[in-house]
Every structure is written in structure tokens, then in C-alpha cells.
Amino acid sequence: VLGLLFVPAGVGLAQYAGAGPLWLAVLGIVLVGALATLAVTGHVTQLRLGQTGRSGGLRFGETGRSGR
């Protein structure tokens, strides 16, 4: 349901449909930016968890199952 709530705000991009080719560049930046942010946040956090040796008794990739 959360995804539905984001839709009306996202449809606002219709007002910028006339930007044409600029959208290709912007979409590229959004994509590269998302991947870069994921990588920096993930690696910095994982590195610090490794350095401090305090993974909270958690093994990488198999903890806190939501049980869903």
C-alpha cells in the first residue's frame, strides 16, 4: 500500500515531460547516484562493523528474520 501513496506525487513529473533529452541524463544520475549511495553506505557501515568487532552476535546475512 505504501507504494500506492507515492504514486500521486510521482505523477507530478508529468509537468516536466517537455524536458525531453534532459530526462535521459537525469535518470542516469538518479540511477548512478542510488547505486553509489548504496555502495558507500553499505561498505562504510560493514567496514566499521568489522573493525569494531561488534557485529552484535550477528552473522552476516542471516539475522533478524522478519518471519514473513
Partner: protein, 220 residues
């Protein structure tokens, strides 16, 4: 009166997009993105102004803020783990948010984009309610900022899990934080499907990342 049909049309579009996603089981068929695309095409084809559409769907938009806040519920169950790693979470979220701002601001400067595009690109990693507020405060374009936030959220939530597998980010705390910072509420919802700890950390990342964006952008 006829504008009211946009609310059920929006819900129906999202429902159809969900069905499409289930039938083809492809992460690229993100329901939010598919519904957005279909509705944008419909608005452009029919010539209906976005203001009319936004007014008709305002009840959905009004629920967005509270729904994003509700994502923080898993925090309570993981509070001990999160408290133990508070320093790491703060450093990771700050580094990620700084990266998000830097990529957007640098790209906008290189391309000589107009200020409203530059602001929307720089604030795209913050959740839509924050980027809309920032656009209002910094004389940006709220619809553009919200739209790019949502695109960033969809991109991160769709590609993020496989991307983090590829670059060997496996710890649930790191995976969750990365999704919260890069793709806010949409990424947090995705992480809640992965593990409870990842979902809780993503909610923290969304809040911290949004706070960094809100504090830093007015200074630039």
C-alpha cells in the same frame, strides 16, 4: 466532480501494476513506477492539468507522511541492536547522505542545470515529504523534487538488493542502512521483506539520511 475519478483510477492503476508484477515476477516491474508511467501517459494524452489530478488524489498524498513514519515501528523491536551500533549507523548514514548530495550537486553543476533541477537532484535521496518541504523552503519545484525522490527510491529498492549482493555487502544492518539512506521509504519497505533488522535499520537510515540532506542543502 469528474476530477474525483482520478482517485479510483490511481488505485486501479496500482492494482493492475501489482498484478503485472506478480504475473511476470520481475523486479524491474516496480508497481509504483509502472503506475506512475501509466498515469503520466494518461494525463498527457487527455490534457488534464496535474493540479486537477493532484487535488483529486490529495487524500492519498496526505497519508504519505504518516505511512512513512509508521515504517519506524520495527525500530522498537530492534532497539537494543540499533543502540549498540549507534556510532556505526551515524557514520554510515552520514557518509551515504554526503555521497548522495555530492553526486546530485556535482552532476547538476557539470550540466549547468537550472536551480530547481539541481535542488531536486541533490535532495533526491530524502523521502518525498522532506524533499517537498525543502523545495518549499529553498524555492525549488515541489513536484520535481518529489518525483525525483520517488524515482531514486524505486531505483534503489529495485536494484539495491542484487547490487549489494554483487559488491558483497551482506550484513543486514549495512544492507538496511544503505537502502534507507539511498531510497528512503520505498527502500525501507523492501528491506522489511528481507529481514526485520534490515527493515529497522533502513527506517533509521531514512530518518538520518533525510536529516543530513535537510541540514546540509540550505548551506550550499
Amino acid at each position: 466532480m469528474i476530477a474525483l475519478i482520478w482517485l479510483p483510477i490511481t488505485a486501479a492503476s496500482y492494482g493492475a501494476a501489482l498484478t503485472l508484477r506478480r504475473r511476470f515476477d520481475s523486479p524491474l516491474l516496480n508497481p509504483t513506477l509502472v503506475a506512475m508511467g501509466a498515469l503520466i501517459a494518461t494525463l498527457l494524452a487527455t490534457g488534464v492539468p496535474y493540479a486537477d489530478y493532484a487535488s483529486a488524489t490529495s487524500p492519498l498524498t496526505a497519508l504519505l507522511g504518516p505511512a512513512v513514519v509508521a515504517l519506524a515501528v520495527p525500530l522498537h523491536r530492534e532497539r537494543e541492536t540499533l543502540r549498540r551500533h549507534a556510532g556505526t549507523i551515524l557514520v554510515g548514514a552520514s557518509a551515504g547522505a554526503a555521497c548522495a548530495i555530492a553526486v546530485g550537486a556535482a552532476a547538476a553543476a557539470l550540466m549547468h542545470l537550472a536551480p530547481d533541477w539541481a535542488l531536486a537532484l541533490s535532495s533526491r535521496s530524502a523521502t518525498a515529504p522532506i524533499s517537498i518541504a525543502l523545495a518549499g523552503e529553498l524555492h525549488g519545484a515541489a513536484a520535481l523534487s518529489a518525483g525525483l525522490s520517488i524515482l531514486a527510491g524505486v531505483a534503489g529498492a529495485t536494484l539495491g538488493p542484487r547490487w549489494l549482493d554483487l559488491i558483497r555487502v551482506r550484513h543486514p544492518l549495512a544492507r538496511g542502512l544503505a537502502h534507507g539512506v539511498a531510497s528512503h521509504g520505498i527502500g525501507t519497505a523492501r528491506m522489511l521483506d528481507e529481514t526485520r533488522l534490515a527493515g529497522a535499520t533502513a527506517a533509521v537510515g531514512m530518518g538520518l539520511g533525510g536529516a543530513v540532506v535537510a541540514l546540509v542543502l540550505p548551506l550550499l
